[in-house]
């Protein structure tokens, strides 16, 4: 019996697909799920609402099984999981804001995405007239010689908006409290009632730096629902795009982290390499960020002949120049002085939050959706998933360095082994169905759950960004660090605001 079987008991599945099943949960099963999460037998993959229902996605720690529990909440509420498992707290606050479903006994009753400015309350639920605008109460802080520094929503650089409330004692940060939701666009609401084509476009605009990963996750969920698979050539081309996206973002991040440690030389060189990747992507697929290139059923366009040449030329340059930059990072004491030991994420916390991507892998959690549950074509490719345990800014840089090297290897394999055949299939006639996909973006695992109605329109789609479990850890990582190290720590996380706020 796996942890998931223990949680589910005898309930018959509503949906049983590979590699997941969905089950109607009663209060007892919901309670068992909470205990399994608290005990670390399963990690939280997602928690989202629907009219009168809440859904919980679990990943079994040992077996890697995925199960979705659906609990009836038509009475207007559900037992809070945040009481026993803190990673659920913000997701529950979001459910309350969007659907009006009350997480009963929740430790934090404040709104999260709803800033009181939409004009309506519970926009995806009852959509009632909103009450008057109320001030947002930040957590109280008591103590001698403390001062507060409010930052944002508009920040000093070219970055997304969000509010950070620092409480500091001198230079040391005593507490950071984040307030997000500023870029909430209502994407899940926009998707409802739309066809797959528009759904894919919206999914590709959840987080601009992960346009490919989101489009793949949405397409895979749609294909899972319709019981089809994209043809092999499409799967390889998708992976090629995904690895180009990972490469570009990691190169950008490595440079930007060093820039925030007052070392712009790395930033300049990494920025030039990143530009070369984007130009190769543009030559290969007609768009620098490869937006709208992945569609349900395959890919929108085949690899251009000049794209193959451009990618090879780019790879030659990156392979020639990147090792020198790694040496520069490794041998510059003033840079190491800033990154080593800064912003430590305790491995226990990383495990508790089920955090993915470089944040997880720098703190001992090696989860990578490309390996488990895994999806094609990665089962046919050779690559390693770097892992470290120090959990500091330096470790997050080295994870990225390792992943740059791995992505270069993957791109070479993908181009060399690209199978012949069609790059898309005609989708079958739509019917009422559900699909789920877990896809590894550069930042971590993206979960998409999709339900289609009888006409093949989107009845409900939930997209969970990896940042949901990374943002809370940033609050923990900065504690005890100096205020001036915040940009450095923040950049080493590079969480998405748009992906989180949705």
């Amino acid at each position: 019996m796996s942890a998931i079987d223990d949680v589910l008991g005898n309930a018959a599945p509503l949906v049983a697909q590979t590699p997941w099943r969905r089950v109607a949960a009663d209060a007892a099963a919901w309670d068992r799920a909470g205990r399994a999460l608290a005990a670390g037998e399963a990690s939280l993959l997602g928690l989202w609402g629907e009219r009168g229902v809440v859904h919980l996605a679990l990943l079994a720690a040992e077996s890697g099984e995925i199960a979705v529990l659906s609990l009836d909440a038509s009475a207007g509420g559900f037992p809070s999981l945040g009481r026993v498992h803190p990673p659920a707290i913000r997701l529950e606050r979001a459910i309350k804001d969007l659907f009006g479903l009350e997480p009963q006994g929740a430790p934090d009753a404040r709104p999260w995405l709803d800033h009181g400015r939409w004009g309506i309350a519970a926009p995806l639920g009852a959509a009632t007239q909103a009450g008057p605008l109320a001030a947002y109460p930040f957590l109280p802080v008591e103590g001698e010689s403390l001062h507060q520094i409010p930052v944002g929503p508009i920040h000093a650089g070219i970055i997304e908006p969000g509010h950070f409330r620092f409480t500091a004692n001198g230079e040391a940060v005593v507490r950071l409290e984040e307030r997000l939701g500023y870029v909430h666009k209502g994407i899940e609401g926009l998707m409802q009632g739309e066809g797959l084509e528009r759904g894919a476009k919206l999914a590709g605009r959840v987080s601009g730096d992960s346009a490919v990963a989101y489009a793949i996750a949405f397409a895979r969920a749609a294909e899972d629902a319709l019981g089809v698979a994209a043809p092999p050539r499409a799967q390889w081309l998708r992976a090629l795009m995904a690895e180009l996206e990972r490469l570009a973002n990691h190169l950008g991040d490595i440079g930007a982290i060093c820039n925030d440690a007052a070392f712009p030389l790395m930033h300049a060189h990494c920025g030039a390499l990143r530009e070369r990747v984007l130009r190769a992507a543009n030559a290969a697929f007609g768009h620098r960020l490869m937006r709208d290139c992945v569609v349900p059923g395959g890919v929108a366009l085949d690899l251009a002949a000049k794209g193959r040449v451009a990618i090879h030329a780019m790879m030659d340059i990156v392979r020639r120049e990147f090792p020198g930059l790694v040496r520069l990072y490794d041998e510059t004491a003033s840079l190491q002085d800033r990154t080593v030991g800064a912003g430590i994420v305790d491995p226990a916390l990383a495990a508790q939050f089920g955090v993915g991507g470089y944040v997880g892998r720098a703190s001992g959690r090696g989860f990578d959706a490309r390996c488990r549950p895994g999806y094609p074509p990665y089962d046919r490719l050779t690559f390693a998933v770097p892992r470290r345990s120090e959990g500091d800014v330096n470790a997050r840089v080295w994870i990225r360095i390792g992943e740059v090297e791995q992505s270069l290897g993957l791109i070479a394999q993908l181009i060399d082994g690209l199978p012949e055949g069609p790059h898309a299939i005609e989708l079958p006639r739509a019917h009422a169905a559900e699909g789920l996909a877990l896809v590894e973006g550069f930042r971590g695992d993206i979960l998409v759950w999709l339900r289609l109605d009888a006409a093949g329109r989107i009845a409900r789609c939930h997209l969970r960004d990896p940042s949901w479990f990374q943002w809370p850890l940033l609050e923990a990582a900065i504690e005890g660090n100096i205020v001036a190290d915040f940009p450095l720590c923040n950049k080493s996380f590079n969480c998405s605001y748009s992906g989180h706020d949705l």
């Binding site: 800033h115 400015r117 939409w118 004009g119 309506i120 926009p123 959509a127 929503p153 508009i154 000093a156 650089g157 070219i158 970055i159 997304e160 908006p161 939701g181 500023y182 870029v183 909430h184 666009k185 209502g186 994407i187 609401g189 926009l190 476009k201 919206l202 605009r205 959840v206 987080s207 601009g208 730096d209 346009a211 950008g252 030389l265 300049a268 060189h269 920025g271 030039a272 990143r274 530009e275 984007l278 543009n282 620098r288 960020l289 937006r291 020198g324 930059l325 520069l328 041998e331 510059t332 998405s496 605001y497 748009s498």
Partner: protein
């Protein structure tokens, strides 16, 4: 580090100047822009970027303007950290209702004369996000916009061209 710096001295710069089509246009626009900006504002123009709900795609391309290929600063264009230092606000996103007040405040904090450039398809009228309960629907609905730069996102070269057009327009008027 010495080796890397030394190599940089010997190698040709990545910064693109002359030849074919797009690159040439980029360099030409740079020259023309510098002349126009100098007349109005001396040798430099300060730009403050405000993300009013974008997906972050436009921010990526605006950031790319600072890399060695485009080298924004050679035109006297500077990205500045405060609207109080800015001549131009580059605004991205469909303007979410949660960002509306912040955008208004940034605009009011920017000293005159000032220009607003709305970057990206969704900054024009909400684009793909139009109709959502959570957005205002375009930068122009909140602050007066002098120029719209379409694209999802517009590539860096297009953004640079747009800044030039903005500077040329009042001169011709």
């Amino acid at each position: 580090m010495r080796k890397l710096l030394f190599e940089s001295l010997l190698r040709r710069p990545l910064t693109e100047a002359a030849p074919p089509a797009e690159d040439q246009a980029l360099a030409e626009l740079g020259d023309a822009f510098r002349r126009a900006a100098r007349r109005r504002l001396g040798r430099s123009l300060a730009i403050r970027v405000v993300d009013a709900g974008s997906c972050n795609g436009c921010e990526l391309e605006i950031s790319a303007l600072s890399n060695a290929f485009y080298d924004l600063e050679r035109y006297g264009l500077h990205i500045v950290p405060s609207p109080r230092h800015a001549d131009v606000l580059l605004v991205t996103g469909p303007v979410t209702k949660n960002m509306r007040e912040a955008l208004e405040r940034a605009y009011n904090a920017t000293p005159d004369p000032k220009w607003v450039v709305a970057v990206g398809d969704c900054a024009v009228d909400g684009g793909i996000f139009a109709g959502s309960y959570a957005i205002v629907g375009g930068v122009g609905a909140v602050v007066p916009v002098d120029l719209h730069l379409r694209g999802c996102p517009p590539p860096p070269a297009e953004i640079l061209r747009g800044l030039l057009a903005l500077m040329e327009a009042p001169r011709r008027a």
